[in-house]
């Protein structure tokens, strides 16, 4: 994007204005555009999708009134919350209380700068892209602690502290899994990692060697824990702590927390796609690769579908699994996931010493293993569906 702005300056569009101001204005404009035209509708539609998927799994319908199939429900919720009374508890710390949602939001929004939607569609291709992502998502911890503390409510405090402990602990397996991929790809830049993969599934880093395969599951589980999603949603455990650290929040501030959570789902999916699933790589179809616009659109669609699939999986997991208890969560992280992620890391390092340019046979083999697992899973799902006798639910007898 920097080239575009430089080009505009050279064409003499901004006489007399120093370059830095033009850069700053361009950045603000880009951020605003991304935020309002992409992130807000994305988080909103994700919230609608979650409620629909959640409801259908529970033999209910979900929101289906506002707009076609209820897809504008988030807009109605947003407007309603904007119009609500602004309540701050009397004994709460006003500044921290008001600031906390925005810190969480910034921690999540700043990740969109480096997400590669296409080969040219990235706001800033930092050469430490993935490190920047990991660092910026940690801001969320500060925001959550602020929210828990400033609410002047013992339940919020408990929720905030639990959440902080959880997020900080799960950074480690996530970071190590990411490091495994950095080893395999050789670069920290997001576009660089995608370029190190190919469009075919067996060229993805997911199937590169058995250790990256394991690293993917470790990363996904750790990312779910960082995003406070079930089975790790203890900070928001409804039945235990009312609503955890967001108990005292209402109106738009409440929505900001959940905005960040749903958007974070997409970011998790995007990172998983970039690191493991080949990002925006498309097969080289001749009549498409010649036209840059069409290619960009195709890459965007491919990336979006891959990332959104993982969003759907996260919702699916939420509807199925119960919650883990806090001490079980911590022991899962420190006793099982951290050693396993070290194994993946060292295994990949060893693999790269053995096969410096990768082993195509092993990749195809891992791909077949992945397909076999998927088929087994599909068989299980079919068995469950058949045993549930869904035809009886479609035609109730009273």
């Amino acid at each position: 994007m920097q080239q575009l702005v430089d080009q505009l300056i050279q064409e003499g569009n901004f006489p007399g204005v120093p370059k830095e101001i033009v850069y700053a204005a361009a950045m603000l404009l880009a951020a605003f555009a991304v935020l309002s035209f992409f992130v807000a509708p994305l988080a909103g539609v994700t919230s609608w999708l979650e409620r629909r998927v959640w409801a259908r799994m529970q033999s209910r319908v979900g929101p289906n009134r506002v707009g076609p199939q209820g897809i504008l429900q988030w807009l109605a919720d947003g407007i309603k919350n904007l119009l609500k009374e602004d309540i701050i508890p009397a004994a709460a710390d006003k500044w921290l209380f008001s600031l906390a949602p925005y810190v969480v939001f910034v921690g999540f929004l700043a990740t969109f700068v480096v997400i590669p939607f296409g080969s040219q569609l990235i706001v800033a291709d930092l050469n430490i892209g993935i490190l920047y992502l990991l660092a910026v998502t940690s801001l969320v911890v500060v925001g959550i602690l602020m929210a828990g503390w400033a609410s002047n409510n013992k339940w919020s405090l408990l929720g905030g502290m639990r959440s902080a402990a959880q997020i900080v602990s799960y950074e480690i397996p996530a970071g190590l899994a990411v490091l495994t991929i950095i080893f395999a790809a050789g670069t920290m830049s997001m576009q660089g990692i995608i370029k190190a993969q190919g469009w075919a599934p067996w060229d993805w880093l997911l199937f590169y060697n058995p250790f990256t395969f394991g690293a993917f599951f470790l990363y996904f589980t750790a990312a779910l824990a960082e995003g406070n999603r079930t089975p790790f949603d203890i900070p928001e455990a409804e039945s235990e702590l009312v609503a955890g650290y967001v108990t005292e929040y209402s109106g738009m501030r409440f929505l900001f927390f959940f905005f960040a959570e749903w958007g974070n789902l997409y970011v998790i999916g995007a990172i998983a796609t970039t690191l493991f699933l080949g990002g925006w790589q498309v097969p080289p179809i001749p009549w498409v690769t010649d036209q840059p616009v069409l290619l960009a659109i195709l890459q965007f669609v491919v990336f979006f579908v891959k990332a959104y699939f993982w969003v759907f999986v996260a919702m699916w997991v939420r509807g199925t699994l119960p919650r883990v208890r806090v001490d079980q969560l911590m022991s899962l992280c420190w006793k099982y996931m951290v050693p396993l992620s070290f194994v993946c890391l060292l295994g990949t390092a060893g693999w790269m010493v053995l096969f410096p340019r990768g082993n195509r046979l092993a990749s195809v083999g891992m791909f077949l293993v992945g397909v076999a697992i998927l088929l087994q899973f599909a068989k299980r799902v079919r068995y469950q569906i058949r045993h549930a006798r869904p035809e009886l639910y479609w035609k109730p007898y009273i």
Binding site: Q58, A237, S239, T320, R323, V326, R389
Partner: protein, 380 residues
């Protein structure tokens, strides 16, 4: 409470938080309040504070007539209203020496077992929801909706039935309802399997419940824990089998007992799995009753102004939450002299203080949900 081990001998002073869980709380089963002293996760004590739903049902018993009191007994435990109805009517019948008609007895058993399935569905569903799995709760409610429809067909109400009257039942069960109930049981038995696949053998669920809050048999006797909670401790005791009433002696059913399959005997998992198995047994009982339903009047002839002779009686019924005892004293007039409702949830709550020391807050939730306590039963 905690000491820092490296501080050269001086203890690091921390205080326990005293938090009040409830009375408004998405988890506790009705309006209950616990005063919890905790250091953040591990509780040092959890004192229940009850009485938020006290409606003086026992005092009302002294002001209304015998027939008029039956709707009040519904409210003593609205999730298992048929059983409270039945217990009171059995007490009145024992005092006056009235014999219930045979068809009335069978109708009573059908209504009660349907109600048992509905109550256990709520117990299992809310248990899953408190642990975090919200989907089984809604599936349970979906099945319960069908049962509520049956109740509406049978007696006109979905929750507080006023169906079992002194001498029999209020309305007869029509043959169409019987056919539909049979269809429902055919559909329901695989659904219980579904709960097993979704919840009972789920590793996270088992980890949350196994070895948590074990109740030993000595504790169960000391604190008079009854019902599925007692059976989960290993004692095969069911009032329908051991102090039989109504037509239960003629029916064949098994009594599920906890066996410590996934943890210790008497932990939360045992209490959960006993309830699931009881639902299956209720299906068996329902099938037999529907086949054996005889013809005849549904209610015996009882005087409008019901005046049993003076006396007292203590009647027990196997309600879903345990042994529901009605101690009824009559002085010969048309109002009862004293009605005392002794519920399983009240005594189960008295146990929570002892067992919850050293548990975590999340385990307290699991304990309350596994004991299946119910605010209207505790407070009456």
């Amino acid at each position: 409470m905690s000491e820092a081990p490296h501080n050269g001998g001086e203890a690091f002073h921390t205080e326990d938080m005293t938090i009040s869980m409830g009375p408004q709380h998405p988890s506790t089963h009705g309006v209950l309040r616990f005063i919890v002293k905790t250091d953040g996760e591990v509780m040092s004590e959890a004192i229940p504070d009850v009485g938020y739903l006290h409606r003086s049902i026992e005092k009302i018993g002294e002001k209304v007539t015998w027939h008029g009191y039956v709707p009040y007994t519904d409210r003593a435990d609205y999730l298992a209203a048929m059983f409270t109805n039945q217990a009171f009517c059995m007490a009145a019948e024992k005092l006056a020496g009235i014999e219930v008609t045979r068809r009335g007895e069978f109708c009573r058993v059908i209504a009660c077992e349907l109600n048992r399935i509905a109550s256990h569905l709520i117990a299992v569903g809310t248990f899953g929801q408190d642990i975090g799995a919200v989907t089984p709760f809604l599936h349970a409610l979906r099945e319960r909706e069908t049962i509520n429809n049956f109740m509406e067909e049978i007696c006109g109400a979905r929750l507080t039935y006023n169906y079992i009257r002194i001498g029999g039942v209020g309305y007869d069960i029509l043959p169409e309802t019987c056919a539909r109930v049979t269809e429902f049981i055919d559909h329901f038995e695989p659904i219980v399997d579904e709960y097993n696949r979704l919840l009972s053998y789920n590793k996270i669920f088992v980890e949350r419940l196994a070895n948590v809050a074990t109740i030993t048999r000595e504790d169960a006797f000391q604190y008079n824990i009854v019902g599925p909670n007692l059976r989960a401790c290993g004692l095969k005791w069911d009032i329908r089998r051991d102090i039989p009433y109504s037509v239960y002696p003629e029916l064949e059913f098994d009594i599920p007992v906890g066996a410590g399959e996934k943890g210790t005997l008497g932990d939360c998992y045992d209490r959960y799995i006993v309830r699931i198995r009881e639902m299956e047994e209720s299906c068996k009982i329902l099938r037999q009753c529907l086949k054996m339903l005889p013809k005849g009047p549904a209610i015996a002839k009882v005087a409008r102004k019901f005046k049993p002779p003076a006396g007292e009686v203590y009647v027990r019924v196997e309600a879903p939450r345990g042994d529901m005892g009605f101690y009824v004293v009559s002085d010969g007039s048309e109002y009862p002299y004293r009605v005392r409702i002794r519920t399983g949830s009240f005594t189960a709550m008295s146990l929570i203080d002892k067992i919850s020391r050293g548990l975590m807050v999340a385990d307290l939730i699991a304990l309350i949900a596994s004991l299946d306590v119910d605010a209207p039963e505790i407070d009456r």
